[in-house]
Symmetry: C2
Subunit: 419 residues, 2 copies
């Protein structure tokens, strides 16, 4: 299997200014291709370190994708460092001038030599089309191995990798490697340790007979992932894996065979049944609505939401009774009940979920500590609510509250008849 | 400056299953300590690769923090690999038994040898307290250099690094390094290239006289960051930098000297002036509300929001006129106007911002393509709205729409008198 390594250059990543997004994207992209993403190293804008890392990484891999440091400012050093690494000079390149001019034309601009030094390239290096940006990419060859330099801006990096780098890679490193299929089993509600040590001891070993196994905990759920080689036994293997799972107690906790994010899965299931949904959010502050509306096509099932952070807004927008808030408190099963019922009616949805809780760090009491949340659910036939308790900081709690509510919503959708 | 490297172990990162969060956190944490985060490498759960990487990384650094692979499942190999790297056996450790027993007690559980093999350690390795989890961390010493093994779960990793690893590091690698202060200048509305090539040529060089300079584009804004050594000239240097900036056209575009995220900055400014805010969101789907409620203490300024994804909800919850929607369309300046005005009144806020647009991928027309957004703003004295156009995919567009509205909100807060 041809090995590919990524080197991400940028002081801004090592100083914590930004979250790298290119590794995960590249990992997702490479996985089904049959190439192996062997490592991803993030280093600073330091010439000596870049050269040492290129040197070391090239030894263990067939190709390197360098990300970042191609921009117009002075801390973007990739090009001159690559020249030093290759032991060549930077020189004006007619090919680069053509590529850069096209890039500028695409944005209705004209490039001139005064704009920047995009037309200088290390001698012998090929400029690459940048479908989304202005700075060209680079390709160099060292002893039959390939070095690609790509921009660090995620959308530029991604388009160039997809449309320019990958076609070259797949031609040059004609991989005979086995294609893999990712078989993902998503469980909910049981911690990773409990699954493999208490509930299903021996399951891991049983699954390992079909392919490599890994498990990964998410908020409230655990993914068990198998990589199955795509041979003529593939469908048979999948069937056997499902049989094994069906014979264990974990079967009841599996909510999806696949790798679809929970909000998207909910939108798809609601669409299948022609059901509409709405949220009444206090402590989650719009997070549930935002996650569902991240999904393309959510507008056909999502009617809307209300973020009622103040007591007045709970009363005015959702019809929560003032007495309920004053007798039970805003974080209570009864307020959650009235919020869910109110949201369903006001937003004219088939199902509404409500969240009212304490995400902290302030606002907790002995009886209702930070992490307490009331979650309500309402349909035309039934409205209910319940108090739950979670641990975590403010952002974690928002996520846990939301996830609990979304799993509740999924269950309701699955239990309801089509509309 | 003592150099620290991070090695993150996990096939799940290289296969794209999850986004790494530990690098950015560690980078943030290390930056002001005077240590240098020299590199961060992500590699797979492969014994040979882990050992080669440990070997190579140890050469160039004073300490290594290994993250991940400490859990109870079979793909968690760090411990046995460390034993092989050190050339020692795994053996039962009384010290480990004590640490693990305490971890379990903290969760009101009792640990026994049947639970897992947490009590086996490579010979000579010290177990480390895990303040948030069950698996102990590890510390090994090789030729005076330190290797720490920490869990991969972010909250466990972070607590262990803060409370256990860092105190050891700072004692053992007593750094005489210069402490640095990050001086961050945040501009809005002008692309990075334009700032340094068109509007302020020569600015970069002028700033470089005071410390190392870097620049980083965000959605609609650019950060110019200087690292200033913390000497007795620090305040003087800051004053001079501000004088330089004041003499350039970029001065007008600076919205913050500091490093506070925009939603938090808005909450702080609104709090100072005792102003309350509300949102009416269509295309942003709750994102603006969610980002503002991510901020601790936002409940004192944020009254709430309405996510009106359907036309009916715009009419019923915000009082948008049916005629306006049918004559102008839901994505229009007039609907944005009525949404902002309605949200301000219904949510009883001093300022309301509205968003109605087309985030795509569907729903665009020739006159109103994907990326079109109407943003409205309303105070007691004035309500206005405007149409903007952006590029990007669905998630980028949601973020751009929101950011545009939040910068508008910030400007309004800054221009308004205290309440």
């Amino acid at each position: 299997m041809a090995k590919i390594a990524q080197i991400i250059i940028g002081d801004e990543l090592l100083s914590g200014k930004i979250q790298d997004l290119n590794l995960k994207w590249l990992a997702d992209f490479i996985l089904p291709t049959g190439f192996k993403l062997n490592s991803s190293e993030i280093i600073g804008d330091d010439e000596e370190q870049i050269i040492a890392t290129l040197d070391q990484t090239l030894k263990n891999n067939d190709a390197i994708i360098v990300t970042g440091g191609l921009g117009p400012t002075k801390d973007d050093k990739t090009k001159s460092v690559l020249a030093n690494f290759l032991g060549v000079d930077l020189e004006e390149s007619q090919e680069a001038i053509e590529v850069v001019s096209q890039h500028y034309e695409r944005f209705d601009k004209t490039w001139t030599k005064e704009n920047n030094s995009y037309h200088f390239l290390p001698k012998g290096v090929t400029p690459l089309n940048n479908p989304q940006g202005l700075a060209p990419g680079l390709m160099a060859e060292v002893n039959g191995k390939l070095i690609f330099c790509t921009p660090g801006v995620p959308r530029e990096f991604q388009k160039m990798t997809e449309e320019v780098v990958y076609p070259i890679l797949s031609t040059r490193l004609k991989s005979e490697a086995t294609q893999l299929e990712i078989f993902n089993i998503r469980t909910v509600g049981i911690p990773e340790e409990k699954i493999f040590h208490e509930i299903c001891p021996g399951l891991w070993e049983q699954l390992e007979e079909y392919g490599s196994v890994s498990s990964l905990p998410h908020t409230m759920s655990v993914d068990i992932t198998l990589r199955l080689s795509k041979d003529n036994q593939l469908e048979n293997k999948k069937k056997k894996i499902l049989e094994i799972l069906r014979s264990t107690p974990i079967w009841e906790s599996i909510w999806q065979i696949g790798n679809i994010p929970l909000p998207q899965y909910i939108v798809e299931k609601a669409k299948e049944k022609n059901l509409t949904i709405a949220f009444a959010e206090s402590c989650t502050g719009g997070l549930a609505s935002s996650k569902v509306t991240d999904v393309s096509g959510s507008s056909s099932v999502f009617m809307g939401g209300v973020v009622t952070y103040s007591n007045d807004s709970k009363i005015n927008l959702l019809g929560v009774k003032e007495e309920t808030i004053s007798s039970d408190g805003a974080v209570s099963a009864n307020v959650a009940y009235e919020m869910a019922n109110g949201a369903r009616i006001k937003l004219d949805a088939d199902i509404a979920i409500s969240f009212t809780g304490i995400a902290g760090p302030g606002g907790g009491t002995e009886k209702k500590p930070v992490g307490t949340v009331g979650i309500g659910w309402s349909t035309a036939s039934e409205t209910k609510s319940k108090i739950y308790n979670f641990r975590g900081d403010r952002l974690k709690l928002k996520e846990r509250f939301m996830t609990k509510g979304l799993f509740k919503l999924l269950r309701i959708i699955e239990d309801m008849p089509s509309h």
